[in-house]
């Protein structure tokens, strides 16, 4: 990293972008080098988006941007201008659990939980285009989601269960009913 003289600082202008996050519009000023990840986490408060590596290698920070799963650590905020972003916080309405979340609970997959927001969105991206995936397709779809606690086998079960819930028309569940 090179040292930047003071007089050159303002060459990084504030750029105003608009983002629709979880259905709500935001106007936010960003620096050209700022990552979507940082805007979501620290400017808009969506800390469900996690930073695990900052290099697109772990999958913790993925979000759905215009329906596509992307690593928010490798998407510049300026590039996200005008896009629709879905984070884990927006997956289900207040008080509800999405079928994917319910299935992960039903398979008792939760451990530290740090990888979960990414895992959940990767499963959503999969089920959106493939409502009935095979084991192999599930593994391919989750191949970038690192989980060190080792819940992988439960992810596979959960995806199948979630797919079943959705096929049965059960997309949302009451949050309160899911507690221990």
């Amino acid at each position: 990293m090179s040292v930047i003289p003071r007089e050159e600082w303002d060459k990084y202008p504030d750029i105003e972008i608009t983002l629709n996050v979880n259905g709500k519009d935001y106007k936010v000023k960003v620096k050209p080098y700022e990552r979507l990840l940082d805007v979501l986490r620290y400017k808009l408060g969506f800390t469900g988006v996690k930073e695990g590596c900052g290099r697109g290698e772990c999958g913790a920070c993925v979000v759905l941007m215009d329906g596509k799963l992307v690593p928010s650590c490798l998407v510049l905020a300026v590039r996200a201008n005008g896009s629709k972003v879905l984070t884990v916080e927006g997956l289900a309405p207040e008080g509800k659990l999405h079928a994917i979340q319910k299935a992960l609970l039903d398979t008792y997959a939760v451990q530290c939980g740090f990888c979960f927001p990414g895992v959940i969105l990767a499963i959503k991206a999969l089920l959106d285009r493939n409502p009935n995936p095979t084991d192999e397709e599930i593994k391919d779809a989750l191949s970038g989601q690192l989980c060190r606690c080792g819940s992988y086998l439960r992810f596979i079960k959960a995806v199948k269960l979630a797919a079943q819930y959705i096929r049965e028309g059960k997309e949302y569940f009451d949050e309160s009913g899911a507690r221990g």
Binding site: M1, R55, V70, L74
Partner: protein
């Protein structure tokens, strides 16, 4: 913002000609496709960026897959996912591209990584570049002063170095449709099955007629230089001969080692890489034969 990447500016072009104009005027611009490679290089301090030229807005012009007049044209800003979801890879002749799709990084990287970016990265582990080599592909470069096409075999100059001039952008890659009795395969092998770099990457194209190898092209992640290259002598040895396990073994034992120099690094030894190159090439050729014969 708490953890950051070094500061840089971004030039967001309106369209292709704006981007080319900017490039011709400003020496400080570094073109960026998806960013999955460049942003990591900037983060690591390997690339010092003053201003990044974001090519993403050019997707409205340069993201496409066209098959016309016997040529396949892929816009440089087509994402790897778009390529992988296209009908092209369902064609058995391009099954090797489908192999790439299974092994190319991770699904979310494939959603931002671009075909042009992968070629422009000029890295031994550029999966798509490897397949373009065996498809005899061309890279189209655009500048304010016009365009030129370079055969991909002449495109790389070194690790992360290509013949692209500063004022040019990669606009398209293309290749001539291959004949019906041909197919391709790609194999990457590493000790991790998911999201692997690959100790060795091999791509191959072969045309068989009556079990005679009419044509064959083979590329590896490296044959001595730090970028993907073809093994011309091995190809020549195989060409025109009848396909047999014996022939392949001869090629692998007697020809390939003479034109391939492997390196030892912390991930694997040169000896293992060379032996693995042989094993994987044999598998790739057998796979292609089976694909041509309808075995998938």
């Amino acid at each position: 913002m708490v953890i950051c990447i070094p500061r840089f500016n971004v030039y967001i072009p309106k369209d292709v000609s704006d981007a080319l104009n900017a490039l011709s005027q400003r020496k400080d611009l570094i073109p960026m496709g998806g960013g999955s490679d460049l942003l990591v290089l900037i983060r690591s301090g390997i690339v010092k960026a003053d201003t990044v030229l974001d090519l993403w807005p050019l997707r409205k012009e340069l993201a496409y897959i066209k098959r016309e007049n016997g040529t396949v044209r892929i816009g440089a800003l087509t994402t790897v996912s778009e390529l992988c979801e296209s009908d092209l890879i369902k064609d058995v002749r391009y099954a090797g591209l489908a192999d790439v799709c299974k092994k190319f990084s991770t699904p979310f990287i494939r959603n931002i990584a671009t075909v042009g970016g992968n070629v422009g990265a000029a890295h031994p582990l550029s999966d798509i570049a490897l397949m373009l080599l065996v498809l005899n592909g061309k890279v189209k470069l655009l500048s304010k002063n016009g365009e030129r096409e370079v055969n991909i075999a002449k495109f790389f100059k070194g690790k992360r170095r290509t013949v692209r001039n500063h004022d040019e952008i990669i606009a398209e890659v293309s290749f001539t449709e291959t004949p019906p009795n041909s197919s391709t395969a790609f194999i990457k092998f590493d000790r991790r099955w998911g999201h692997a770099m690959g100790y060795v990457l091999v791509g191959a194209y072969m045309q068989l007629r009556d079990n005679i190898i009419k044509d064959v092209r083979i590329a590896f992640d490296s044959t001595g230089n730090p970028y993907p290259e073809r093994v011309w002598t091995t190809e020549e040895f195989l060409k025109g001969k009848e396909f047999s396990d014996e022939l392949i073994k001869q090629a692998l034992n007697n020809v390939l080692p003479k034109e391939m120099k492997r390196i030892t690094d912390y991930r694997a030894s040169a000896e293992y890489r060379l032996d693995l190159s042989k094993v994987l090439l044999r598998r790739a050729l057998l796979k292609i034969k089976s694909r041509i014969e309808g075995g998938g």
